[in-house]
Symmetry: C2
Subunit: 332 residues, 2 copies
């Protein structure tokens, strides 16, 4: 029960491959009688074109690569789901790779994708990545690239949310709720996304003439555990914060857990707001106030930017998807 090729069909019918090829693709130059025979036989034998032969011929693979820091993280999973759906709609398959948020793994993912001759790459750099040469190299060999979620200062199309402004708004909410000492729980300083969000936080403080207190700013590796210990450190300060903004879902969760473990209450003792998925907020108690990111749109836009490039539009575009505040019960 092997797959059947055009040549085999041709032999079975005693005609030439090229005739079969024409018939199968609905081109001119085959008598409708013969065409029927060929089509019938092809269907009967379950003929499928061999995409590798086609790729070899045309140097086109109808395949794109996706590199994501952690597919098991809800935020990314939603974006990837969308990218995959949009790509499939246009007849592209996605090769999804997971960099585990590590620079070296990310490089090897790209390596593999290049070897697979993907036609383009959509990537969110790892939180370790500071050198983007491996990504820029793609452009040099004419592979279109789009960055998503985490931008970088390189000349490549990207889709991100309004990081600074959303953080500014979130911080402002805490201020409006009466917070006096607001802590910032973010990712590593090398990540532009962190810098932007911290910018927004500082901007909000400035606008309200509030001091920027260094010891209330924690920028470390993004993980549940580091979020936990950072928050505990904050709570153990002589003058602990009365509000926290956390820039990642994991950090929101760990902050909440830490606050809880100290017997403090949200939002009365410590208010909390952060960047996270809505369905998680839905099951938390209290329900978290959060920055709602439109992952569907990010995914759609990311693919669109790539698709444009695949179709020859080479201008670099930076798309910003507006995030909006969703206020629930963890802020006053």
């Amino acid at each position: 029960m092997k797959r059947i090729s055009q040549r085999e069909i041709a032999n079975l019918l005693g005609v030439n491959v090229s005739t079969v090829s024409r018939a199968l693709r609905g081109l001119e130059g085959v008598s409708s009688e013969l065409r029927q025979q060929i089509l019938a036989l092809a269907k009967d034998k379950g003929y499928r074109p061999n995409p590798f032969a086609v790729s070899l011929r045309y140097d086109t693979t109808r395949t794109i690569g996706v590199v994501v820091p952690d597919i098991s993280f809800n935020h990314f999973a939603h974006i990837v789901k969308r990218i995959e759906a949009e790509a499939r709609k246009e007849g592209y398959m996605c090769i999804i790779t997971d960099s585990d948020d590590k620079y070296e793994t990310e490089k090897s993912c790209l390596e593999l994708l290049i070897n697979m001759h993907v036609e383009g790459v959509i990537i969110c750099p790892s939180q370790e990545t500071t050198d983007f040469a491996h990504i820029q190299r793609l452009r040099k060999i004419n592979v279109p690239v789009v960055l998503f979620d985490r931008d970088a200062d390189i000349d490549i199309s990207s889709v991100v949310i309004n990081d600074a402004d959303s953080a500014r708004q979130a911080t402002k909410t805490l201020i409006d709720g009466g917070a006096k000492r607001i802590a910032f729980l973010g990712g590593p300083n090398r990540v532009k996304q962190t810098i932007e969000r911290k910018h927004g936080y500082i901007e909000a403080l400035r606008e309200s003439n509030m001091p920027i207190i260094k010891e209330l700013v924690k920028c470390n590796y993004i993980s549940f555990n580091s979020g936990l210990s950072d928050t505990l450190e904050l709570l153990d300060l002589p003058e602990p914060p009365d509000a926290i903004i956390a820039t990642h879902g994991l950090l929101v969760g760990s902050a909440m857990r830490a606050i809880d473990s100290r017997g403090l209450r949200i939002p009365d003792d410590v208010a909390l707001i952060g960047y996270m998925s809505d369905w998680v907020s839905d099951v938390m108690s209290p329900r978290m106030s959060f920055v709602k990111q439109n992952q569907r749109e990010m995914g759609t836009k990311a693919f669109k930017l790539l698709f444009d490039q695949l179709n020859g539009d080479n201008c670099v575009q930076h798309v910003i998807v507006k995030a909006r505040l969703e206020l629930r019960d963890s802020t006053k």
Copy 2:
């Protein structure tokens, strides 16, 4: 800046392609001097083998397909992440497709994967799927298949958890906590997984000589909304349940939300236990007692089963990954 081929290298050096091929693959029969030259030039020009030429030659693609109901669902994302990592370790790339938990989409995903000539498929059928002919057809054309998470009564290798027994244990926990009227919130009855888990639930009731109350069993489409309305219906019964077992993360979340919205308390008014991810339980209040599924192991085993088949081991295996109870604060 195009990719360079072996032929081009050969021409540049004035030697034959076959020599270049041998040198590049480290085979015997090339003077080390010439080999150095070839390797150096290849490196300099950034030579990459064209996988499509290789595939065409060997009829092997080093690619496997994955079909998942919903990648944005945490449980699946974790499994997929593991499958991808294991596959990459063995030099396989994954084409991940998302069926949206729909039968028709699932069929078209498989269609595309077959067209891509993936060497094998790892699939979790959609909750709509009752006819498995499209999956069995893969075996007929010699494409190895492995089912995961949701098994079916077909002769195909699979990895699932101990569905019945874990549900039995979870129900027993509720009984031990003093529950008298335990509701079962599950997926559609056509899904074997649901049947198994319901089996375990009923078994536990029987063992404790408790009646099986029909109106306390809700088996509908798995979604947050249907879980919400089902739970509300349960709570509105003349004799509402004092405990609920929910067989999916979404259902646990929606049950919790419903209980909360009626002003009832967990676990005092209604105890709750379910199948979910640990980090979500960590941020819920109260922290959920749950059936902990080892997604890492499921992913690893799923790939291993496929890998065995890819290497010619054709016997059908059914692997059961043991889930275990993790008791926290939503049960007594």
